[in-house]
Amino acid sequence: MFKEVIKYRDLLFMLTLRDIRIRYKQAAMGFLWAIFMPIVAILAGIIVKKVMAVMSGKPIDSSGILAIAIKVIPWTFFVSSIKFSVQSLVGNANLVTKIYFPREVLPLASIFACLFDLLIAGIALAVILIFTHIGATVYLLWLPVLLIFLVLFTAGLGLFLASANLFYRDIKYVVEIILMFGIFFTPVFYDANMFGNWQTLLLINPIGSILEAINSIVILHKMPNTFWLAYAGITSFAVFILGMEVFHKSEPLFAENI
């Protein structure tokens, strides 16, 4: 199944380009689109932080706001990737029923297009971080690894949900609701360790452990927790392989069930 996707890599590239082009062509905001959703999310996060600061009587520190920013960007990548990939097969029904190509490229292309947004937003944030003299450490080398975990996990889930939504059209609505409130169940606006012993519950979600790890290497200049790092890595790979497997197994049924 990987071989075919690699054979059709040009198609994957073209579809990604299509999704990016359409998004940036239609939106008057152009490239601002990539940072629009993160900015709104960060503003929401600051309000949450402010409320917590008022309650506890401690002022907000700038590193707290930066922590929100660094976690919001991967989170919005995750949310929009899942949102677009769930729809990717049903939204391209005319292709699925008429032309043969490995269908994996459809959800993967929507995820890659979101990865492009992540890149733009990431660059914007990097510039801000440089101005705030946050400083860099050797731990930053973990960043690409964590991003790979994030992409693998997102891709696995996206592939699974895309095929599930093809067979059961209401999956999309279930996913939308979960994504809408998911931000409260994931350590984005707050840190997992604020929950003491309960933090395990938040970190079992691989997105949670990945976000915490990113926060610790970029803002806190610390080596991430090895256990949760390993956990995130293993689950990401497992989810990716599983997602590919399920997708590939159900692929022959797509054309007649769409």
Binding site: I99, Y100, Y168, V174, A255
Partner: protein, 411 residues
Amino acid sequence: MNVIEFNGVWKKFRKGERFNSLRDRIPNLLRKKNPANNGMLNDKEFWALKNVSFQVKNGDVLGLIGANGAGKSTALKLLSRIMNPTKGEIKIEGRLSALIEVTAGFHNELTGRENIYLNGTIMGMTKKEIDSKFDKIVDFSGIAEFIDTPVKRYSSGMYSRLGFSVAAHMDPDILLVDEVLAVGDIAFQAKCAQKMRELLNSGTTIMLVSHNLPLIQNLCKRVILLNKGEIIKEGTPDEVIPYYQNIVYGKQEEELKKRILSDSDKVAINTDSLVNISDVLLYNGELKHKTEFRIGEPISIKLNYEAKERIENPIFTIDVIRADGVLCCSSNTKDDNFAIASIDGRGAIDINLGNLNLAPATYFAKISIWDKEMVHPYVIRKNDVFRIQAGGCSGEIKAVFIPEVKWKTTT
């Protein structure tokens, strides 16, 4: 060498509504589920293909014909791997591409240039390949001027021309064609035909699905006739096409009869006319009712009538009308100077139409009896359907008559 092999292929489809949401599915899980059965049908399923086997050799041009719903498109979809067969196996050697739905990969917001790349890669080309063929594709499509315009601004002709141009430049080993050659204006169609000929000469294996029988006749060496999912005839175009035409005319005849029946129900109110045509016999030689005639076979009609009152100088007319409404011939006793002084009670008239030489199709006879001025018809009967069988002749016949022409060369 066989490049395509269909070995006992079956394909099952479902009709009607099906569960496609969790909301429907979850309550249903509680109920006992039927064990999955590959070979059996339940009442909501049907076979789109039944035990279809054929081979195509390298460089062959195979035609696939059949009425709507015969399973042609299903066969092509299985071939292009969009779907998998329920049973049986399909083997394909080499790169396969399909001239089917050539614009399916287009996105309206993108320009022609962007769409060439997008559509090309969807069809299986690499970016490099498209780079090298880009100029040829644009040139072929003839829309170089608009190549940087979003395709949503294209006319429908430009749209499909661009799609066809991309698809035509794929250089496949096996090409599937499904009724797409009728794209664009005459000049573009000539280009397409030229391209097809190039492909034919280059040894590409082609599978052609079309209702255009002359095209099948000209291009294909072998034709397969599908009907209701089964191969019912395979052979040269000359053998298979007449067979197919007979099926089509048979269907037409059924439809025509149905239509006539429903029509005669409507006009049944004024049956209390002075004359009734009680019985009509179509025959040749022997006095036996026939509904199928060969081309050039003499046709005679015998009609029995019953007049309730005495009618002076009635006029009998006979029209032969093709299923699509074309009046093929018309005669009446007045113009033929066959005077009938009067009719009263039961009687019969015999009409010998001779060798009409009608082309293969479905026809019906319209028989009517008029008053002497031909102002008012006493009765009109048009439910006698007959069919001229196709046989040996080529292609689709658009003419009404096939006269027995003698050709010779003179100086």
